[in-house]
């Protein structure tokens, strides 16, 4: 399955500035592994030491949060759009 993954601004330095990458993967867990192979360092930003998706990072398949699907086991279909939405706090200073 080939999906496109939207890379948020804070992680773009790991993708050489690219805001969207294509990945072959059958599910979200595999997508993270394949992202890591292509762009070392991404997995650490997305997952904790136990390999679980970090609580301050949300991964969406199309418009749905994978936490409310099957987490890392959420299956991916061709042309799915995956978005990584990290917590951001800026606004004032």
């Amino acid at each position: 399955m080939s999906v496109t993954v939207r890379i948020p601004t804070p992680l773009r330095k790991l993708t050489g500035g690219t805001d969207e990458v294509s990945v072959e993967a059958a599910n979200v867990g595999e997508m993270i592994e394949n992202l890591e192979s292509a762009h070392a360092g991404l997995k650490e930003r997305l997952c904790d030491e136990a390999g679980d998706i970090r609580r301050f990072v949300n991964i969406y398949v199309n418009d749905e949060d994978v936490r409310f699907l099957q987490g890392k086991d959420t299956p991916l279909a061709d042309n799915d759009q995956v978005s990584i939405v990290p917590a951001i706090a800026g606004g004032n200073a």
Binding site: D19, F56, A87, I88, G91, N92
Partner: protein, 274 residues
Amino acid sequence: MIDFTEEQIERYSRHIILPEVGGEGQSRLLESKVFMIGAGGLGSPVAYYLAAAGVGTIGIADADVVDMSNLQRQIIHNNERIGMEKVESAKKTIQALNPDVNVITYTERVTEENVREIIRDYDVIVDGCDNFPTRFLVNDACFFEQRTLVSGAMFRFEGQVTTFKPHTDREGPCYRCLYPEPPPAGLVPSCSEAGILGALAGSVGTIQAVEVIKELLGIGDSLSGYLMTFDALRMEWRKLKLRKDPACPLCSKEATIKDLITYDEACELRTAQG
């Protein structure tokens, strides 16, 4: 409904002729009270539009003074106000725009000690702060005090906006449903590394202002249950579903948080020079 003066009828005429607002809605705005956290990047456009709309009372909390480097995006301030308290500067701008607005200033940060008491006096709370501990504090306080929270955040070229009101929207999430706790130190770049496109603050802040005014009027569809994201480089808005977390530590039946928590400075990560 309040009795409008001639001047008010003229000032608000473009609102009053909207069937969704009308004299009654405008009257409601004039009787409304909105509390804003931050008179900075997001707070500037929010304050401008709430004041122009005739929101009767605007409370603003900010402990900082105006700095030259703020003026690239914090449009409620200006060159002559450098060194002035931001809340004072904001008050001057608002009152010059619309004398109907009563501005209440708080030259302090919101804290565990003061936040609940402050927000109790207001109808809607607007978060445009620049750090995670305050975002969690304000979310929790709004939950306990049953206040609607319109939250905006930004980073470099990206923005996020949503509304949290789990007290009226049973299916509606709170900030902790979205992010249960603040990120640990070191995983998010600091403000000095970040930078921000100044006009982005306008894009995000005006969406917040629209949302606040709709909440006050009780019209249209709320952003509760959705996260609006904006990518300025791609010029793309997206509306993602935001669900109530059945295991949310704050707003679910499984809640473990029963009172305010202050996260210490060690985990304070300013991800953007907002």
